[in-house]
Symmetry: C3
Subunit: 352 residues, 3 copies
């Protein structure tokens, strides 16, 4: 007697516009998660690294790294949204709404906001808006992502195509709505690791983040499990050996976190990611790949009513097995340059 | 001048019936251990994952995963009992007596309850009953295990053989004696990840847990050290290269934890392991192996005086490098099927 | 428009006698760090492992392992001192001044106390005294280290050579100045794992620590990132493949921690490292190497005014891929024996 109780994952034809998924396994974030995050990526931003540093400038305590929040909320959505995904296509309108502290419990819901079958009828694109909330209901993170999801049956009828309109960037007025008022006179540049504050960055500036990290299977698996992200391509070598790449794929969020940690060299005072305007995993990464990163300053903006902090919009580019002194991005013909694996568009917050 | 201070481990002739070992290194379990456990196995059971979820149903706070408790108590016993073991032969009568919370400190004692020399006189079987206790003395876990231990000298005299009688299963009336009374009306199936409660499982039902995890050397070593388990076969490649397998062996408890984590797909509401009726490590696992799992429901039982929860007895089978859609267990001739590495008999507790 | 904001690391000609570096990224140590440390090395000393054990003898709570403190303070100094180092040459006068507890935040400063250009003019030796402090300013650790650092330009002028005089050992009167008074009558040898206290060790005694650990890339990377140590040789396989060793080098502190954890077999009651009199990384280690360790008792000493504890000076030697039953150290001709990777001279504190 076999049952379907273990069956998991939705296919393209299982999604409907307006459908809401309350994802399983609410998750209390702890100092243990923070330690493991630090061990996996080597984050050094002083606000997250030091309780007294955070408290000196006005946080009640050290917040957790913004990308821990992202990965945990994202991870929750995988079982319902992207277990049968072919590819994670993009992100938009990702806003970090509230600092998260150890002890907070995060849950997540996703609403289907777009559906478009592919012309080959074997898959389709699903757009969801995912919201992470604290136990109190307070939203901490909201983002749109779209993924290409397999159909169970090619013959299943296609839904009316709906493609949501998405802004190319978050309005600076919407950034960091609940960031505490900070006493930046008590922000110690030496302890933070850099003399460069908000006003010191100029549009067009490119920064080579200099360091690099080689990925190991154990590292990406531990990280991805920590986020309770169960996408099989990251964990099952026995099945992956039969697939296109013959290897386990590294969860793209790991490249985001590595690139962010590397960006400390040159952006040490960019202590908060306020928004991800857009993002694209340009190519897959695998264990053994060495990740480099560089940034370009795209825009600087005041945040209305805030005299303590300002925003810098930066393109954060990660490469594998290629150093970044020449800031590789596109070929002469406009293709993605060899080695580019991640292209993120971020709003960063720095002290003024 | 050399001394024997570094000498470690007992041999078969060092054990006597009735001997009691108070194991070294009491261990305070922390949220850090929990985070690492989550990173190593990807546990998703809501009661352990979320403080508010646990508190809503009546726990004072989120308990730690039952198998953390098992591994830490087991790990303590290794230095005295099984450092010179040839094989860990089996478990019986393993009962989880008390929820364990971060901040609790666990110690362990073992009593020798059986001894039987092997006919080749080079080794013998040692039976111990191991008890884990909180700092207050409160027992949290008790189990019998038997291991084949080498003799120091084949000529050492054999003790009178004593083989303890062991029940084939724990009586349901003895399950979960100190589980808090739970308000299961506040148990949220959606957050827990499954609509199936106690009454929804039927004897004979088989569940393929669908997912799989590939083991890495760094992962099993980190886990096994976390439990302060010092068995050499898990850590010393230099010595193992000269042995039968040429490789480090994965601590069998890691397969237990992986299979348990995978069983979330189909048994998401089985939030508590109340007992391990019996268990056998059928074959060794190594780094690079991919672990799959399936379960069969063997029995369902009410727990006397409990209207909040019920018990499901499940066989949890783990395989390496073999998917479980066809529930592999035995060959036609009754041998263990190819790929089976673990065969556990569990009492699980679910909300009614 | 490229900028130098991401530029990192100092060269030999950037250092001046008396120069003080306040290192970036103060770091709050948590129970998460402790768990990860335990998972990476398998520490079993009861004082650090158990809150009730530590409190029974007089600690306010369980202190963190001394080497966590060392690695975190050392790690902070890397970005300013040794990012362009060719080799870490030695340590001296390293004193652990104050117990550190989870929740403490550590910062570090280094003062340049010696400079000596090498005769080839492409590099020079930099001597620094590094001090780690709690948030209150209380010093917790002080040590001298010297490193060979590359010059940016061989033609840069050489400074006047200054080589600091360094004592060969810390005076026992200076050991453990703020160790709490301990009630050693409540120190439980059985729980601690050894009957041997301070008076049981004799000068000349050699102890084989029996166990061994094989290193994995993921393990040393996670550990080294946990300490926010950014030395590139540990992380960047893409660059290392072009270098002398073709591989990532393991941070020498990892060998220190592994050897220390292994030394539990024979030195289980040596619960506190009070000082590192000197130390030398004799040869590099790599992933795949198996680390063994042995100790020789060099000296025993009373600590003035302390009747609770005494000091044992021990040479802790680590080897790779070579067992220690014959205590390998030097060849007949006085060279370092094959396999020796670490030679540490420690003051250990034990209960009397």
């Amino acid at each position: 007697m076999t049952t379907s109780k273990g069956k998991i994952g939705n296919f393209f034809e299982d999604f409907q516009i307006g459908q809401v998924f309350t994802h399983a396994s609410p998750r209390t974030i702890t100092l243990g998660d923070v330690a493991l995050y630090n061990g996996l990526y080597g984050a050094r931003f002083a606000v997250q690294s030091s309780e007294p540093f955070a408290q000196a400038i006005g946080y009640p305590r050290a917040p957790v790294d913004d990308l821990i929040v992202f990965h945990i909320v994202f991870g929750k959505s995988v079982a319902d949204i992207s277990l049968n995904a072919v590819a994670n296509l993009g992100y938009a309108d990702c806003r970090f709404l509230e600092p998260v502290y150890p002890g907070d419990t995060l849950g997540a819901v996703s609403e289907v906001i777009g559906l478009k079958e592919n012309s080959n009828r074997t898959s389709g694109v699903v757009y969801v808006r995912t919201t992470g909330r604290k136990q109190s209901g307070l939203p901490v993170l909201q983002f749109v992502r779209w993924v290409m999801v397999r159909k169970r049956h090619p013959s299943a009828p296609a839904p009316e195509p709906v493609v949501p309109g998405l802004a190319s960037r978050v309005d600076p007025a919407a950034l960091a709505p609940h960031l505490p008022r900070l006493d930046v006179s008590r922000y110690d540049d030496q302890l933070a690791g850099s003399p460069y504050r908000w006003a010191d960055y100029a549009v067009g500036e490119k920064i080579d983040h200099a360091d690099a990290m080689t990925l190991e299977e154990a590292e990406h698996q531990i990280a991805t499990r920590l986020y309770q992200n169960t996408a099989r391509v990251h964990f099952n070598q026995h099945a992956q050996a039969q697939g296109q790449f013959k290897r386990r794929l590294v969860y793209g969020g790991i490249i985001m976190s590595l690139a962010r940690a590397l960006s400390f060299n040159g952006l040490a005072n960019a202590f908060h990611i306020a928004a991800i305007n857009g993002g694209r995993h340009v190519a897959p990464s695998f264990a053994g790949d060495t990740i480099y990163a560089w940034s370009e300053i795209l825009e600087t903006a005041e945040i209305p009513l805030r005299h303590d902090v300002g925003a810098v919009r930066a393109r954060l580019v990660a490469l594998k097995n290629r150093a970044c002194a020449d800031f590789p991005l596109k070929t002469a013909s406009g293709e993605d340059a060899e080695g580019v694996v991640l292209d993120l568009d971020l709003w960063l917050v720095l002290p003024r």
